[in-house]
């Protein structure tokens, strides 16, 4: 069986029909993962118990037990999510040595559906970054060209998926952290509606923006994974009680009557010529398939980056206050604890445990929340956030989905932007507004740049309308010039 090119459903069906054992599938991918990871650095912790997990699946099958839709399918999980008895560090020294005694709900749902976890995937520290260069475990390489970043913060997931170290991966997206690396590495990445997937067991960055989502080789695989991990969870008070639709069953490439909104502001901004061409080609293809193209406007999008970074930094400064060197993770080396004062204990531990970008954002958030600045920064950003939602609501009166670039340019080189925080933040112009408004958004691979780097197209839909977003992405995938193209590691 050609496991590298098989869909999740093909793998699961083959395992259930005993054409191949879950053990053989897991062993194949585990070896591939180990080999490829020597250069890519996408995997930070391997699950040495993967064989026993796979054997449990095989034994259930031989006993005739009913198994879920991911039976024997190997997954990689971003280090932001807790997987029982595997380290969870969020790419940070401050969580060094932390081994959660429980699974995040998304991972528990994967396991219940039969998935086998192979390892934890690299990321920017606390998901703060757009290049996967801020991880304590080191930078990840883009499998298409090792001089380029894979994007971030879910850069490990994107690189692992693009090189097929495993069949599918999970990432998290707070301001584009699934969609941007998916675009840079040529994989499908979905950020669901806020509340669709439980955040229980997901290390918190900015709680009103964070969502978990699939990063996969195809739209069908993404739809299936999303179906498995979605749904209400009593352990996350912001998870939605809406029923989870059967997105895979309802997938359709029939775009007749679908109105695709083209974001006016995107086409006016300075796009890399290959990205501009990619957007234009994707629109032509959608027209050919019967979609109606309408121009929509989100005048506030030029403010998305400041509003996003203010809200995210404020929430982060509060969320990351929990890392105090007491309950878990890193503690500074104090020779005689009884002679240390508490302020020094906290500040030394935190000063040594957090990396530069995380400290920068904690400082930004603390400043924006401090007396005298709260109204003009945090409160103001929250008000503009409501205006964002209103503008999207207006736009979705005229269209069913919105099409835009994911980023203004394809992947940039390692080391190119890490010294300039503002330039790095401005990468996120097209992705952050989706999180501010809590909308579902995804990147679908479409073309390659003249330098041979992947370019994705972003599709955004109204709250809880993942189906139409997936349908348009599925249609685009079927006609994408990049279809079947593989990175050099293959």
């Amino acid at each position: 069986m050609d496991l590298v090119n098989s869909s999740l459903t093909d793998i699961s069906n083959a395992v259930k029909d005993q054409k191949i054992s879950a053990e053989e599938v897991a062993s194949f991918f585990f070896k591939r993962m180990k080999d490829l990871n020597q250069s890519l650095n996408a995997v930070v912790f391997e699950d040495e118990n993967f064989l026993s997990a796979a054997r449990v699946i095989d034994s259930k099958i031989s006993k005739g037990e009913e198994l879920g839709p991911l039976a024997g399918v190997p997954f990689g999980i971003k280090d932001m999510l807790c997987v029982r008895n595997l380290p969870a560090t969020a790419g940070s020294k401050i969580l060094q040595g932390f081994v959660p005694p429980y699974d995040s709900t998304a991972v528990a749902k994967l396991k219940n559906a039969g998935a086998v976890i192979l390892g934890k995937l690299n990321q920017d520290e606390f998901a703060m970054g757009s290049s996967n260069e801020t991880s304590i475990q080191g930078a990840v390489q883009n499998p298409w060209n090792n001089k380029y970043v894979p994007g971030g913060s879910s850069g490990g997931s994107a690189a692992a998926q693009a090189s097929r170290m495993m069949a599918a991966t999970l990432g998290t997206d707070t301001g584009g952290s699934i969609r941007q690396p998916a675009s840079f590495c040529g994989v499908v990445g979905v950020k669901p509606t806020y509340g669709r997937v439980s955040r229980y067991g997901v290390i918190a960055y900015a709680s009103s923006l964070d969502q978990v989502g699939p990063m996969t080789s195809t739209v069908e695989d993404a739809a299936l994974t999303l179906e498995v991990i979605s749904g209400f969870d009593a352990k996350d008070s912001t998870s939605s009680q809406r029923a989870v639709p059967e997105w895979t069953r309802a997938l359709s490439k029939d775009l007749k009557g679908i109105r695709v909104g083209l974001l006016k502001e995107c086409m006016r901004s300075s796009l890399h010529k290959d990205v501009e061409k990619s957007v234009e080609n994707s629109i032509d293809e959608l027209k050919k398939m019967g979609a109606e193209i309408v121009e929509v406007s989100l005048p506030l999008i030029e403010y998305a980056v400041p509003v996003y970074y203010l809200i995210a930094a404020c929430e982060a400064s509060s969320n990351l206050a929990r890392y105090d060197g007491v309950k878990y993770g890193y503690r500074s080396d104090f020779k005689n604890l009884s002679s240390v004062d508490l302020e020094t204990f906290y500040s030394q531990t935190r000063g040594e445990g957090f990396g530069a970008e995380v400290k920068r954002r904690i400082m930004m958030g603390t400043h924006a929340l401090s007396s005298g600045y709260y109204d003009s920064y945090y409160l103001k950003a929250g008000k503009v956030r409501r205006l964002f939602v209103n503008q999207y609501k207006d736009a979705f009166k005229q269209c069913d989905v919105i099409l835009s670039p994911v980023t203004a340019a394809p992947a940039f080189k390692l080391g190119e932007r890490i010294a300039d925080p503002l330039q790095m933040y401005l990468n996120d112009i097209f992705t952050t507004s989706t999180n501010l408004a809590g909308l579902p958004g995804m990147s679908v691979p479409f073309s390659l740049s003249t330098d041979g780097l992947p370019i994705g197209i972003q599709i955004t839909a109204n709250h809880f309308d993942e189906q139409r977003m997936l349908n348009v992405a599925w249609a685009l995938e079927s006609v994408a010039p990049a279809k079947g193209k593989r990175p050099h590691v293959f």
């Binding site: 206050a321 309950k327 503690r331 604890l337 020094t344 500040s347 030394q348 400290k359 920064y377």
Partner: protein, 93 residues
């Protein structure tokens, strides 16, 4: 301008020990970033309520019953220093 003195005060509020070099960097970087962020002051938000949760969420009520999913040992196993089931910390009073 966010000067070094202000940076040191923010670091104190955030319980972050930072070096002189870091304070210089953060002073320059936060000044640049916050100056850029200032532009949101131009947006008219009069009469607009701030938004926190971006999608409709229904309140979920549950029975107030005790459940035990983990043992105390599970929960303290990750502590950097402990004495039995207690966390070891510097003197606090």
């Amino acid at each position: 301008m966010i000067d070094k003195k202000t940076i040191q005060n923010i670091a104190k509020l955030a319980r972050l020990k930072i070096s002189e070099v870091e304070a210089d960097d953060y002073s320059q970087q936060l000044t640049q970033v916050m100056d850029y962020f200032e532009r949101i002051s131009k947006i008219d938000t009069s009469g607009v309520e701030p938004l926190v949760t971006p999608a409709e969420i229904e309140v979920h009520w549950r029975e107030d019953v005790v459940e035990q999913e983990h043992t105390a040992e599970d929960m303290v196993a990750n502590a950097p220093a402990r004495a039995g089931n207690l966390f070891k910390v510097p003197p606090v009073v």
